[in-house]
Amino acid sequence: MIHQERPALSLGYLPLHSMTTASTTTTGAKRGFLDTVEAKAEGYNEQKQQARAACGKELTVEENTAAASERKKGCCPPPPSHAPPATPARNNGNRPPARGRGAAVPVVGWPPIRSFRRNLATSTSSKQPPEQQNGEADAKVKLNCNKSPLVKINMDGIPIGRKVDLAGCDSYERLSLAVKELFHGFLEAQREPSSAESAQQGADRKIFSQLLDGSGEYTLVYEDNEGDRMLVGDVPWNVFVSTAKRLRVLRSSELSRALIGSASEREEKC
């Protein structure tokens, strides 16, 4: 059982020698257990001595070269080339090859560092929530708002919110269309099932095309990075994208009430 060379077996199982222990007892499961497997007392001492001897002797030329080349490579035989955290989860039943030469596959949860630390070498502040450590991460990773603005959007009267990708729209008109896509299904679901479809579509088109000019039934507002509620459309599109944190489709009748509300908030909290 003395390791003279790196074991090639992935499980690390080694052939058992049939040495018997010195004493046999019948008391308790503990001793019984030990009796069934050999004790490697002699082997262990020998190994310890070998280890000490190896440390004591001077480096031979071979070892010097090995050490030098390891230093060049940065130690152990080349670990897997950079495996980004987004690799799909490995089947836990596969164990990695013992020494990982060249084609080693990344192992789930190894090395044991928290996901907060995993991405530091490559990127800045992106973190992976625990649900996603098994690999479908990237699509769902919540990135810094400035990088990929997937903002929440709610509509008055609809209890479920949506998320819209501001970077995917390139103008306010596109945004308006995107909002329509997101919510017209809900609006339909809320209407009487007996109403004519075409009438509904016409009404919806009307609602969503006047989001930005304040003349329709609904108005689009947003919350900026300072927490203030703003009317969509005043600033250049790219400024809007970088400052908008949240969107809301307000009933225009609610608008004045909402504006008064936020003004008094500001008074209290400033």
Partner: protein, 590 residues
């Protein structure tokens, strides 16, 4: 000592004079026992002490949220003012526990709301905390002062707003490495203008922006603020402004410490830090421009704790900085410090007690020159060093033996060699000898993580010698059942054992079943266990919960599976509450 009531004899024999002291006296006496273990021991002496102790217990730590039911805990200790509850197993930190496993904080908050109205402190670790939990906390405890959430998830800034708005006497809001959803809620603005009691504010794990003006006003009016840990959204110049408003700060976490170099900004920072005479602990995510490090020189001498483990700074500036920190007791750093940097640490930081070195590029090819040499140097020259977490790529038995000889005072030794099963790189031997030396020399060792190429023999040493060991982490090690048997039949003080990817099977588990009830928990994943043994274990030990985790994609009922089916993940823990009822589909309790 206290004898039971029933054994009181008639007037003749002398009773100890304290026998008839009222409970209040005992409660007062017990208040001098700060350690929960001591209080627990006292409670075991007799019924009278049990009663007095439990009624007066003020601090309760529940290390496994499933070891007892929340209601039972609250009923048993009715006077608790500070509670700490921990949930998921430790390996959940590394993604080994699928989502929705459990560990919900809600039942604990509900029970506390009912039974501990005077609760002041609540701390959750590795648990699922929802916004509703936070709202309930804010609404239920009128003197709530301290909220600490570590590695938790499930809540958003809306929940935080409930806390900041509702907890009038809040002193500490400490959020460490949680996953917090950003709802752009004005949680920071929700502190009332009249609120001034804050002493600790840590929102370093928050992703979103905060209103800086609000933060500045908060910092200005909270004169007792000692700990302030900012997130990445606060730029450097704002940090300088904050420091001018709070020069009495003791612990500072900067946000992202990177900016183009401007002499004005540099001067501002330098002046701000020069004013912080009380600053002792420093941390931050420094993608640092090394040029700014020298702005901190004024505080180096006073620092006792430095956490640069999120800092990708390398090179001479880093080392120059650390070489001025003569009073460091705690240093967390990236392996970018390299061996020669650690040599400087060794010669400078003679008071160092804890060192953690993290890998900067764990999945990469390893260009960093951090080896066993660095650890040897530090262990040789820092006489008070007792806790180490060290990630590196190579190790030798000689180095470990030297380290063990230098530092018999280790209480925590965690070595992680990045590539599994790496042998001694000079002799190609296993690292059995090295780790054996550690456990033989460090008699006070309480926590150990092993790595590299290891056979069953190292576990024999650990089992025999590590008498005080409470937590052991093993990965990719051992050859056979013997390895596990050595551990479970030895290690007198073992509380937590976590194992992954080792060839350990059923026999040692069953042979040492009774041991498991003396431990808090056992985790085994990717070992050689089968369902039959787990069934047997569960049957034999009714006060253990034996949880099996399947692949979440295929939740098949265990009853149908034969005994020979392999078990991928096993989590066993003792409990007085019986099997839990909140398991997801992929977890089955046998």
């Amino acid at each position: 000592m206290g004898r039971g009531v029933g054994s009181r004899s008639g007037g003749g024999a002398a009773q100890p004079p304290w026998h008839s002291l009222p409970d209040e006296v005992w409660e007062h006496a017990f208040s001098f026992l700060p350690a929960a273990a001591d209080r627990g021991a006292a409670a075991g002496a007799c019924r009278g002490w049990l009663r007095a102790e439990r009624r007066s217990r003020r601090r309760l730590a529940v290390a496994n949220c499933y070891a007892t039911s929340p209601r039972d805990a609250v009923e048993r200790f009715p006077s608790v003012r500070a509670a700490e509850v921990k949930g998921k197993p430790h390996f959940a930190d590394f993604g080994l526990v699928p989502p929705a496993w459990g560990a919900e904080a809600a039942p604990w908050v509900a029970a506390a709301a009912d039974g501990w109205p005077l609760l002041e402190e609540l701390s959750f670790k590795r648990m699922v905390v929802t916004d509703e939990c936070l709202e309930m906390i804010a609404a239920s405890f009128r003197n709530f002062q301290v909220l600490r959430l570590v590695s938790c998830e499930g809540f958003s800034t809306a929940g935080l707003a409930a806390i900041t708005e509702g907890c009038r006497n809040l002193r500490e809001l400490d959020l460490q490495e949680n996953y917090i959803e950003d709802c752009s809620s004005h949680w920071l603005s929700s502190f009332p203008e009249s609120f001034t009691s804050l002493e600790t504010l840590n929102f370093s794990c928050l992703d979103g922006e905060v209103n800086f003006a609000v933060l500045e006003r908060l910092v200005t009016r909270c004169h007792n603020l000692k700990t302030l840990k900012l997130n990445n959204a606060i730029p450097l110049d704002k940090v300088a402004s904050l420091l001018r408003k709070a020069p009495h700060i003791v612990e500072l976490g900067t946000g992202k410490f990177s900016a183009d170099y401007h002499p004005d900004l540099f001067a501002k920072l330098e002046a701000a830090f020069a004013g912080c005479k009380s600053l002792r602990r420093l941390s931050g995510a420094w993608d640092a421009v090394p040029d700014y490090l020298s702005a901190f020189y004024g505080v180096c001498e006073g620092l006792t704790s430095l956490n640069l483990s999120y800092a990708t700074v390398r090179g001479p500036e880093l080392i120059k900085f650390i070489s001025r920190c003569k009073n460091l007791q705690q240093l967390w750093v990236m392996d970018l410090i390299e061996d020669h940097g650690l040599a400087v640490v060794a010669s400078t930081c003679s008071k160092l007690q804890e060192l953690r070195v993290f890998p900067s590029d764990p999945f990469g090819a390893g260009q960093v020159l951090l080896t066993e040499r660095g650890l040897v140097d530090v262990s040789a020259s820092c006489p008070m060093l007792e806790s180490v977490l060290y990630f590196c790529r190579r190790m030798t038995n000689e180095a470990l033996i030297t380290i063990a000889k230098n530092r018999p005072n280790f209480t925590c030794f965690r070595l992680c060699i990045l590539e599994p099963r790496t042998p001694d790189y000079i002799t190609q031997q296993s690292l059995d000898a090295g780790f054996s030396a550690i456990v033989e020399s460090c008699k006070g060792l309480r926590r150990l993580s092993v790595s590299g190429l290891l056979t069953d023999l190292v576990f024999k040493s650990i089992g025999e010698h590590a008498d005080r060991l409470e937590m052991l982490s093993i990965a990719f090690a051992g050859n056979s059942d013997l390895g596990l048997h050595y551990i479970l039949s030895g290690c007198k003080s073992l509380k937590k054992l976590e194992i992954r990817d080792c060839p350990f099977g059923n026999k040692p588990l069953l042979a040492n079943a009774a041991k498991l009830e003396t431990m808090r928990s056992l985790w085994m994943s990717s070992c050689s266990l089968t369902l039959g043994a787990c069934r047997q274990l569960a049957q034999k030990m009714p006060r253990l919960t034996v949880e099996i985790m399947n692949d979440p994609g295929r939740a098949c009922p265990l009853d149908a599976l034969p005994d020979e089916s392999p078990v991928e993940k096993l989590y066993v823990y003792r409990t007085i509450a019986g099997p839990r009822s909140d398991t997801p589909d992929y977890v089955q309790i046998v």
